[in-house]
Assembly symmetry: D2
Homo-oligomer: 343 residues x 4
């Protein structure tokens, strides 16, 4: 079967990782990425010797890029003429303008969480509603927190049914190296409900969700504390077992040193993962507990890379590469090296 | 009636504020404070002209203090000979040694949250179990988080009964100016349950409590997200009303700018509060919500000063100044300028 | 002699402190402050019982303020009709528009460091060039870092002459409670020279100045490391002596615990200073050293309050309350409680 | 020629990177690493499939490691029996005890900056005093800040001679993922001179060095601001040229986005460097300036990996693999992929 040809629009924090993730898929071909200015990300790409091609979204900027030593393979039109599907990782709001261009060309496209829901036919999550994305023209991914949260809630939901979740999100307020945003010595509270709860209900309408979000001064993963009301009783051992079988969830022990968002970041670096990234959310084993019938657990969301697997799933869905959820996510997982680690 | 004579052992973050709080009470007399070395706190006391006396716990250190320009009124024995009750705010573990001295002298004493529970006859909270402290010789206060948390939970419990709470504590990891402790770019997760939940159950054994604690890099108040299961149904308006009537709880609106631990800290400074301190916890109005029958709300705990009112209550209880809870806390509140602010 | 009547435009971080500082001056009268919306600062003012009057810059907003429980005494015009001089502490850029209004009314005005230099007749520093401000209509103050830096450099310059300074500014990137700006886990370098060096040369044109500025994630004082080339030789003891005689410089010892910007902040709180503020810069005694003929020293700049004394000096200068520098700064110092503390 | 067989004692932040660095050298063979407990670093090594062997320093702990799924190849004795030289990266103080063991076995050893100078025959820096290390039994490396600082100062010194340096070190206070150390909202000043200046003078006794050190809350590279007094005049262009020719110095432009320690960290991740590490210091081009005859410049020190190249140089020196400095550092650079990038 011919490989599906993929282009990535926007080579920022997410775009870089989407390109890396697509490049790993045996049944996809990364045609190239698009950006507009000589960012650090593009300078690094050039210093690495351009493992894939760069196309420029603003023809007038080609000189500027080349002056910075960054080879340009052509314009955005050149890229769009060669691909079957676009992963749009441009800044929030730009995707809507780009959609018109994709439409004209009859190209399918997958947008990130920053865009409004109505940009897409389906608000998509690889594990929770894969089937709804199959064959659709435009999909929108959930944002980083929601993606990771849904992984865990969907996993529990398939096992015992989940009626309701109340979540507390401890949100990192900037990415590593971000000098434009930040907080110093502040924990900033947002009104309830947070958008992640609302988004979860959009994807999983049978679950009632709400919760608070607090921004804190870290650049590494978000931490989400979940109180979930299950439909059936389940033991702590069973909970750890089902999470442990999920290829995109790492069950980790605080006592082993996996005690923080920063420990997970450090571990990913020490693993030699590209960019020191982690696709899996971590579930801290010692945080699994009960409050009455409710299940408590806390997870770590590595915000830079967590959406990559589900974004790749989205390509499989809209391009009808696989029509069955299980088959699709298994392939994505295989190519990304994700596998069940638990007992 | 003769004023109750109070001494404060330890003039650190808590001891300084205990001394300030006692000095405000019309029916108490602050005899003095005890410390051992020329700390910044004592240098500031001297620069302010010694509004109260300092006694030295280590006679050999008197010269050192006086060389630093800090007048010393006598030894710890001199202080203990003049007081009816001691507020012990020494470092965790020292209180136990001091207790032997208090015993010998037949002095009542009140310990802070850092000591083990068995140091005291009663593990005490002014609002939740005042009566249990009346006439006792040794009381131990709850720690800062637990003190503030119990204020809110007790308030709800007296209104509708609380069956259960699941809490997520977002804990500040150092006080302003602390150069010995800290975290950088880390959100550190502790095993469930946190000690605050356990302590809450000790004080309020009819409530089931558990939850997670995450340390974050701020120096201002802790944020606690609470999921409480009430025994009777109650509306959001009623919840805001009962919290609004509590003299030690400020109901604040995020939309007014009270959006963070740091905003509360700044507001206390702008109020002209001594040391820029705040005795009240804040309840963020826009975080009050429901998840099924459960009530969600988030509070801010100003860790440096929050325990002062309940510590003053403890003096009233053990010294039998008032035998009724309502009467006692009302007097403490009056002298500290605490009053209901809600509608 | 009639008191000089002062109005303060803008009741933010600086405006609040200007109002406090003016209110302390025995020969000035604070007529009131002007602002436009129910900020936390104004809510605190109302909770304190309106120690001085508030005027509203936007008549349509008066209702909004009163709905928030903040009494309004009138419009900005009402204030301007009652004052002799305005301290303008509005956001950068607004001062220029306001100047037109002051001009029409024939009012003198003093602007803060955020405005462009050409807004004023004189770029002013109470200690370094007081005489140049005498009788002028419009003065502009130096910014917080420059104000503190010039205090130290001017002090040294008057003693032995300073030829040249090379400075490294370690700049706090947000104020306590600021949720709009910040950095997480970043030390951000700016091109040389920083504007503080340029500003120093504008005020003290006989000195050559340059240096680098690095933004770091703290909310407390800036730290400036200075390498100064003196014209005459001077001993470490003499340096400490002259700094110790300066009423706006505190010579502190790291070994006493004055080891950081945060320790200075904490000390100001413990002193009971209004808002926990500090007018004085701190000079860390153990950082005074020599590199060849050059003098090294490091200072702490408490950014929230440091400009207040020089702003009050500016009133004295432009209103010709005192024509001699020494007399003027002495009065400001007296009313603010500033005095030489060294030996 | 037979490869030199190297063992690494201690597999922490530095030990991990020493192992990686040695493994890249075509003329060295990494026999294995030694550690004592199932740290995250060892768990990551196991998850990567043990690219090299682990030996256990405490025989009783072998079970513990194997229970954690970490294969152990033998005891520390087994390793020491197979190597020609040891890189000791154990915690400060342990190296001294280990030295006795190395001595008994007649093994050469290279210690890190945490040990006292007298542990070694030579206090060593690959570029500044390679010759002094040739053939010696015990070398001690400079610490991270000093290593990077000396690279820059030595480079300038070889070009025009350096008489004197005054440095301001803005020191990161923890490594990424460190939960044991940290500062929140504090810039902590140390007495002058810092140890880095003293160490520089030990290695380069013809230069007078002093300066201040300020700890700040970041986990990424240190920033050092240098004021250097050259013996001969040199232009800005020449300075940039000589730094640009140094394979271990990256001259970067703030305007290109290389504006901070965090930007350098991010760039290293985007380059795909193992663990997201950077061996090179960065020199911020726009910080090069003059103050009188003095040269100002600021550099970034990537504290986790910066000492690796000079540590590899140390193997070459003590094992007499190369007797000439140029030849040695060139080989190290070649194997680590370090090359001049400037014009």
């Amino acid at each position: 079967m011919a490989k599906v040809k993929v282009g990535v629009m926007g080579y920022g924090v997410i775009g870089q990782r989407l390109a890396d993730g697509v490049a790993c898929q045996g049944d996809m071909e990364l045609i190239g990425v698009v950006d507009v200015a000589p960012t650090l990300a593009l300078r690094a790409l050039a210093e690495k010797g351009m493992p894939f091609k760069l196309f420029c979204a603003v023809p007038d900027n080609i000189c500027k890029l080349e002056d910075a030593g960054i080879p340009v393979a052509g314009t955005v039109d050149d890229l769009l003429g060669q691909v079957n599907v676009v992963l749009d990782a441009t800044s929030a709001g730009i995707g809507r303008k780009n959609k018109e261009i994709y439409k004209e060309r009859g190209l399918k496209a997958i947008f990130q969480g920053g865009e409004k829901n109505d940009i897409a036919d389906t608000f998509f999550h690889g594990y929770a509603n894969y089937e709804k994305g199959v064959g659709k023209d435009y999909l929108k991914l959930t944002s980083c927190n929601t993606t990771g949260l849904i992984r865990a809630v969907d996993c529990l939901d398939r096992a015992v049914g989940v009626e309701r979740v109340a979540i507390t999100i401890i949100r990192r307020c900037a990415d590593p190296g971000d000098t434009q945003r930040g907080l110093v010595d502040v924990a900033l509270v947002e009104p309830v409900p947070n958008h992640q709860a609302v988004d979860l209900m959009t994807i999983m309408p049978h679950i009632d969700a709400t919760g608070v979000l607090v921004h804190v001064p870290t650049t590494h993963g978000h931490i989400i504390s979940v109180v979930a009301t299950p439909k059936k009783s389940i033991s702590k051992e069973e909970i750890l077992h089902i999470f442990g079988q999920h290829p995109r969830i790492r069950v980790v022990k605080i006592k082993d040193g996996f005690d923080s968002n920063a420990a997970m970041f450090r571990y990913a670096r020490d693993l030699g993962n590209p960019r020191g990234d982690m696709y899996e959310i971590a579930l801290f084993e010692e945080t699994v507990a009960f409050s009455g019938d409710n299940i408590l657990f806390s997870i770590n969301i590595p915000q830079e890379a967590v959406v990559i697997p589900e974004s790749v799933d989205a390509i499989r869905a809209c391009m009808e590469m696989q029509t069955a959820r299980e088959e699709a996510v298994s392939l994505t997982n295989k190519y990304l090296g994700l596998k069940a680690r638990g007992n």
